[in-house]
Symmetry: C2
Subunit: 177 residues, 2 copies
DNA sequence: ATAAACTTTCATTTTTTTTTGAAACTTTAA
DNA sequence: TTAAAGTTTCAAAAAAAAATGAAAGTTTAT
C-alpha cells in the first residue's frame, strides 16, 4: 500500500470519527443533553482504550474546566468511568460500551431526575378539591389521565430494562409475535 | 358555600393549573422542546374548550410573535389544531387530548426529525474502508452495533405505536405476562 | 515537608436559544 | 375597494445555557 493511500485512509477514519462525534453532540442537544457532554461520550464510546482529559480537550478543542465538568456529569449518570493506569499519574476515562446497559442507565437516570418529579406534580394538581364547573372537571380528568399514562409508561420502561441482557432483542421478539 | 370559600377554591384551581403549565414547560426544556411550546401545549391540554391566541398570550404573558410561532410549531407536530367558530373572526386552538394519539405523534415526529437522520450518519460512518488497526476496527464495530441498536429501537417504537387504540395498556399486558 | 503534576471550582465571558415587537401580510365584512 | 381585525415574519434584544481560564485544591513522589 502506497504512502499516499495510507494518508487517504487515515483521513477517512478521522473524518468519520469526527462526523460521528459531531452528530452525537447535535442529537444530544435535541434531547436536552449538552453538546459537549454528548460529544465526550461519543468520543469515549468509539475509543478502543481509555482516554486522558488532555486528549479529550485536544480532540474536542474545549477547555479544561469544560472537560472536567462534563466528565463529572457523565460519571454521575453512571455511563463513564475513571480508570487508573499503573505508573501513570493522570486519570483516564472510558465509556460504558454495552448498549443495553447504556440504555438502561440513561432510562433510569431520566426517570429519576425528570419523570418521577413530574409524576409527583401531576398527582398533586390532579387532586385539587374541585367545585364542579366544566372547566375544573376537565382539568382534574385530564391531569388524572396524564398521571396514569405517564406512570404506566414509566413502569413499563422499568420492566423492559429489567430483562438486563439483550433486552431490546428479546422485546422485539415478544412484541412482534 | 360562602363567598370566601369560593374565592379559596378558585385560587386553588388557578394555582394548580399554573403549576401544571410551569411543570410541563420545564419538562419540555429538559427534553429539548422549548419552554413556551410545552407551556402552550399544557394549557391547551387542560382547557375544556378552544382558546384564542389573545388568551394564550394573556395567560402565559408572552408576545404575539412568540405565541404565533410556537402555535405554528405545535401544529407542524400535529398535536395542536386550529378551530374556527361560527361568526367569529379569530382563530381558536385545541390540543390533541387523546394521550395514546399524542404519544404516537410525538414518537413519529421525533423519529422522522432526529432518529432517521442520525441513523443515516451512523450507517455512513460505520462503512468506512478500514485498514486494520485496532483503533479503526473498534470504531467500525462500535458504530455498527450502535446502528443496529438504534434501528431496532426505532422499529420497535414504530410497531408499539401501531396498535393505535390503547396501545400502552395493551403493551403492558403483553410484556408483563 | 514540599513541589510537581494534575484536577476541580466558579465568577466572568461567550455562544446559543428564545422572545419581542413593529412592519408586512391576509382575510373578511360592509 | 377599503379599512378593520386579525396573523405572520424576522431583525434585533434579552435571556438562558454553556464554556473559559485562572485560582484553589488535591495527590503523590521524593
Amino acid at each position: 500500500m502506497s504512502y499516499q493511500n495510507e494518508i487517504t485512509i487515515k483521513m477517512e477514519f478521522k473524518e468519520a470519527k469526527n462526523k460521528f462525534v459531531q452528530t452525537w453532540g447535535a442529537l444530544g442537544s435535541q434531547w436536552g443533553i449538552n453538546k459537549t457532554m454528548a460529544q465526550i461520550h461519543a468520543l469515549l464510546m468509539v475509543s478502543h482504550e481509555a482516554v486522558s482529559m488532555e486528549d479529550i480537550m485536544e480532540e474536542l478543542q474545549i477547555s479544561r474546566g469544560n472537560a472536567s465538568m462534563n466528565l463529572r456529569a457523565l460519571m454521575d449518570w453512571g455511563i463513564v468511568y475513571k480508570e487508573y493506569k499503573a505508573g501513570e499519574r493522570r486519570e483516564f476515562f472510558t465509556a460504558e460500551k454495552d448498549l443495553d446497559e447504556l440504555a438502561v442507565k440513561i432510562s433510569r437516570e431520566r426517570s429519576k431526575r425528570e419523570i418521577k418529579p413530574a409524576l409527583k406534580v401531576l398527582k398533586e394538581v390532579s387532586s385539587i378539591t374541585s367545585d364542579n364547573t366544566a372547566e375544573e372537571k376537565h382539568f382534574v380528568d385530564q391531569t388524572t389521565k396524564l398521571y396514569d399514562f405517564v406512570l404506566k409508561a414509566d413502569n413499563m420502561l422499568d420492566k423492559m430494562t429489567e430483562y438486563k441482557d439483550n433486552w431490546l432483542a428479546k422485546l422485539v421478539v415478544k412484541i412482534m409475535k
